[in-house]
Subunit: 292 residues, 2 copies
């Protein structure tokens, strides 16, 4: 067991409240008054979650976008965010980018904390949303016979990261720098899906997690998986294992069509020896980005 796995196992022992969903979901789901609140907190660390030297405005955008993506996977409407910020030499670009992103997604900044930090810059963001439908989608509802879908291609963030880290300026890097959470799609899908999550750690790993949480096997057809037009064919496996795409992965009951653009990429089978099949075969090796 890795140190992270051991720590998370210990935390799961503490998270017995039903709102915590056993820490097995992207968000907490909490009944308060007459509303169902959706709560998530994601961190980002310099050199781990972004490249040292990246424009802080893009980092701010991504910090907000990744948290809103967790809300999108619950079909939630964002209410507001709290920021945890460790000061850097230049903080003005971060504030600019945060302002731009908050305005773009129409989400208010509600509070937070600012600290000095002698090490790597470390950021946290808590996003709060309200559920728009009940039950709130989870990872664990996929059933044999369901179809498996994704809202868009995987691999664009990988290509953007690679271009950014090699200084290649001819490739569009915005998918890596400024991901767009699928908030509208999440809300449209939430009443229909049997399971939903965002693809933040790579399609293969996240699909395998959905299979595990649902107690099923997910079978993906590699010929159906959408990739960016400029992805070299031999990079398809890498694109499926790379994270940061923030598309929504979801399952639908038989004969249900998605209410938004989406790609059917596979089907749900009764639980077999492997949680995930790709082209009918189980996978070996690292499936994706174990955060981290």
């Amino acid at each position: 067991m890795t140190p992270e796995a051991a720590f998370i196992a210990a935390l799961k022992g503490l998270a017995s409240h039903p709102a915590a969903r056993g820490l097995a979901d992207d968000c907490a789901v909490l009944e308060v008054g007459g509303e169902t609140l959706i709560l998530t907190h994601d961190m980002m660390v310099e050199g781990v979650h972004w490249l040292a030297g990246q424009d802080p405005a893009d980092v701010a955008w991504k910090l907000l976008a990744t948290n809103l993506s967790d809300l999108a996977a619950k079909g939630a409407e964002p209410i507001g965010v709290l920021l945890g910020y460790s000061l850097a030499e230049d903080n003005s670009r971060f504030a600019e980018g945060l302002g731009e992103a908050l305005a773009h997604f129409a989400v208010p900044l509600l509070g937070g904390d600012t600290v000095s930090n002698p090490g790597a810059q470390t950021l946290g963001l808590t996003a709060l949303g309200r559920a728009t439908c009940h039950p709130v989608p989870s990872r664990s509802g996929a059933r044999p016979g369901d179809s498996v879908w994704i809202t868009g291609p995987v691999g664009a963030a990988m290509l953007g990261f690679e271009a950014l880290s090699t200084g290649n300026t001819s490739t569009d890097t915005s998918a890596y720098r400024r991901p767009v959470p699928r908030l509208a799609e999440g809300r449209a899908l939430a009443p229909l899906v049997t399971a939903m999550m965002d693809v933040s750690d790579g399609l293969l790993l996240d699909a395998s997690r959905m299979a595990g949480a649902s107690g099923v096997t997910v079978s993906l057809d590699p010929a159906l998986i959408p990739f960016p037009a400029d992805l070299p064919l031999e990079r398809a496996r890498d694109a499926m294992a790379w994270g940061d795409d923030y598309e929504l992965l979801f399952t639908l009951p038989p004969d249900t069509a998605p209410p938004c653009p989406a790609h059917r990429i596979g089907s749900v089978l009764p639980a077999g020896p492997a949680p995930l099949l790709l082209g009918g075969a189980p996978l070996s090796g690292q499936l994706g980005y174990e955060h981290g």
Copy 2:
């Protein structure tokens, strides 16, 4: 303007939602579903907010306690917390301490995130509570003629910190290691106070902030300020400037008595040239801990 002050000024421009209270309060105060939610997020950094080598169980306790103290200052009842955790070599003591603290304060862990971090260990915690009375106390309601009170002594955390950092084992260090947020006191006081906040950054600095937010002058009587029994007389000024005590500082209208044990330490005057007077005189030099 320090980099932190400039950044916070930029954030204030983004925090126009009334729930943010202009980022001038300890918490966001948000109406949701017929309830009034109280939200706070505080960070702690190794070597900045705790001593390298301190027991991680105490760090976990303090991370929870400092956030609950912000809820206490609003008279709020805790609902739950989200943890942002960067992995260390040994994470098990942190999990133990967190479990102990969550159980002690009867607060559920709802979610969070775990990351690797090549630099100083950096922690964040978001605490969510519900208001128990309306209006929710703020820093800005102190009025001339009010009396000024504190729920307990200042300086015990300073003595604990000094003993811990010098290896002096004859002094009780628990006030520094395991502060106890004044949740019950905050709830009892909330319906009565004109202003309330916790003393996290030092009595003098925090009293001066309350005066500034309220547009008044706070006049403290040094003879009335409570100190721990073992504080040397010549350390009184240090104790008033040191933070980490997490007592509640509050103001009451004339002829109102506090419903819990508390010490009357001064009075509120119309705004004069200085926001804070000690023994009738304005103060110079650093008032307290500018976080940080």
